[in-house]
Amino acid sequence: MVAHFKRGQKARLSDLTLGTDLYVGVQISGPGLVFDISCFGLDAAEQLSDDRYFIFYNQPKSPEESLQQLGAQAGDTESFRITLDRVPESIHRLTFTATIDGDGTMAQVAPGCLRIVAGGDEVVRYAFDGSEFSTERAVMLGDFYRKDGWRFAAVGQGFDGGLAALLTHFGGEVEDDEPPATAPPAAPAGQPPAFAVPGAAGAGAQAPPAPGQGGGFSPPPFGGPPGSPPQAQPVGAGTPAAFGGPPGGVAGQPPAAPPFGGQPGAAPQVPGQPVPPGGGFPVPPGPQHAGAGGPAAFVGQPGAGIGQPPPAPPAPPFGGHPGQPGGGFPAPPGAAQPPPPASPFGGYAPPPGAGAGGYVAPPGAGAPAGQFAPAGGAAPGALTGVLDAFRGVSDGRRWSQQNPQLIRVDLTHGGGQPVLARQGSMVMYHGDVDFGYKSQGLMGRMTRWATGEGMPSLMRCTGNGQVYLAEEAVRLHPVELQGDAIVVASQHVLAFDESLEPEVRRIDGHGIPGGSLFALQFQGHGTVVITTHGEPLVLPVTPMTFADANAIVAWSAGAQVLVANQVRLRRHAYPGHSGETTQLQFRGAPGNFAIVQPYEI
């Protein structure tokens, strides 16, 4: 099922998958390298004519949300959700790029890949490694483009400059990039040095996230420079409204607004009135606006302590604040990472070597007591800011993952169809929901078969409302079946749509704990939520694929399961045998997979 693409290979997407709701994951890493992975939505001329379709860490989704950045998950360094049938007509090409933030070249990149997942199945994988590149600092990984329908091309083309150069490349017109380029003059004018970084021409965009300036670059990078050009914009173009209006989404991308708006000459105005970079992103962008908002607010506090009005999200001081010299955003090293939307803890980054283990004297120790004093500790609205990081998403879908361990099902979607969930997995609900015991029919047989640990008791959630499901903080993975089938070990089923008629599969074998392994085969259209302890591993089924019966989570229904007993006389010879005596072997056509978890029950 997985098509392995080579560099330059192209294919019609409809040949690969019929789904249009795709997950695009990029795995890229390298020793000491930090990557920014972005998606450019280009027009027919391969230009970024609408900067709202430049999806990057500071603008994690397009206006109609057909392109969304999801953050690191499932082993991917960065991931996107692409709903192709909602991508506007004006967008002809979606280019996925990775750029190095900081020092380094693409030649140092470890083997990575770009993969496309549709309906829970990986359909395309394009693998690459550093040997294909030399001194490039950016790479265009793959393109979706329109040509009699959407097609996909594995590009794998290196690019000498960094993110800024890529922007110029796609922006086309030189002046497009000029405002950012001319932004640096603003810095000497009293802005925090960090602020200038993103604008620095060419390679400047990948300034290393040094503790001092890293904060300036990462979260506000594009929020930052925008800060200045927009500031100037009213003067140059007299369109203040353009800036006052933008809701969440736009606030994150003002950077591009002036540049692509083609208002050159706006920037020179800036030096006179440095803007606190904080103004650059008053409204946290992002699906979980938590991601940016939380850290932002949090970052604000130190500022408060140091005697500067905290640029809390609720107070977007746009036109005003001509001269807040004090370095605007203190940006603790903790904030030095672009807040990945998927991780509410975006505010935290492994401290970039700050003090390298040395004892960093708490500033508070020597500083006037006021610094961490109660009043300094909390900026107005700060609590909201911190909490925003944990606010759930409501994307209007039936199943929406609130965080890696919590999922919400909206019973009002999907035609009022009930959901079956493991007993006791409800942690919260809104609205009028009834929880009933599910007894009849198939389920009854199942529970009877599987006494004890087999199939957990289920409850039936009906009514109108939203139910939040979780279990012991294990990871949850909603799998949407589109007519296909998956087999899930029964203890890994958290919940599923009632439309998915599960069928019990029982695998007996000597040596399987409990005598047999119960699994449910789900088939049809609907979602099943799978639990895993830790990050799961999805193994392609090859002629020699084995899994531990204790660690197996699920497998594709097409795979055949055999119990492989490795009987060794030595087992009885001494007590310290490997303990791995019974495995499940999976066999099947290419494209089948088995999922295991890093935890043996």
Binding site: A365, M428, G465, E471, A473
Partner: protein
């Protein structure tokens, strides 16, 4: 030795009274005159000169006296330096209060500034149902509170129409402006041992937020 791992997890300079070091460690910048209450046994490391006073009579009384059999095992920490706190790998969230009122499940309190006003509250309506006797610490004022959560918490606004029902075992904290009432959702079938497993919930209504953990594990792990 390869220093990358060591450098990668080195402490960052604190930027506020409380902050996170990773998702599960709270770091508190201690100063004399600005004391802290923390769960006994939650200290994992400290730098500088910090002293601990375990459950002094004054507030032990205040707590234990209110509720027979229940106590919040707190210690008072004072001194200068950096204090690291954790609770068996639970996620930690540091909340800055600015004249806010927060009610935190006693199990989920990790630490809070000593100058905050606080008191033990019994949650009306539920304590007599839930076996473990749910009780909370109400905290108000301006300062920092560190709260633990098994798994990454989620914050839900209750401002929407209707009530929000929360499993008491998954409840972490809520803003005290909310109306709270207990709800017994069990029917006759539950009594026969075939219930939905969700017999008791807390109903919240009004303006405010509720913090919920993705786990129904409300076991005390830290020593009493």
């Amino acid at each position: 030795m390869d220093q990358r791992m060591i450098a990668g997890y080195a402490p960052a300079a604190p930027t506020a009274r409380m902050g996170n070091h990773g998702p599960t460690i709270a770091r508190v910048a201690m100063q004399s005159g600005n004391d802290l209450f923390a769960r006994t046994g939650s200290m994992i490391a400290y730098e500088g000169f910090i002293q601990y006073e375990s459950n002094p009579a004054a507030f032990g009384q205040a707590i234990a006296g209110r509720l027979s059999g229940e106590s919040v095992p707190l210690m008072k920490c004072f001194g200068d330096g950096l204090l690291y706190l954790a609770d068996y790998g639970a996620n930690v969230v540091c909340l800055p209060l600015d004249n806010d009122n927060l009610s935190v499940n006693a199990t989920n309190v990790l630490a809070f500034d000593a100058h905050l006003e606080w008191g033990v509250q019994r949650v009306r309506g539920i304590a007599k149902f839930a076996g473990q006797g749910l009780f909370n610490i109400g905290i108000s004022g301006t300062g920092w509170v560190a709260v633990t959560s098994r798994g990454m918490p989620v914050v839900v606004d209750c401002g929407q129409a209707g009530e929000t029902f929360v499993d008491p075992d998954a409840l972490v904290a809520w803003s005290t402006g909310l109306e709270v009432s207990g709800k017994r959702s069990f029917k006759a079938s539950s009594l026969l041992g075939r219930g939905s497993g969700e017999a008791y919930q807390l109903a919240f209504s009004g303006q405010g937020f509720v913090v919920v953990q993705p786990s129904e594990d409300s076991t005390e792990r830290l020593g009493q």
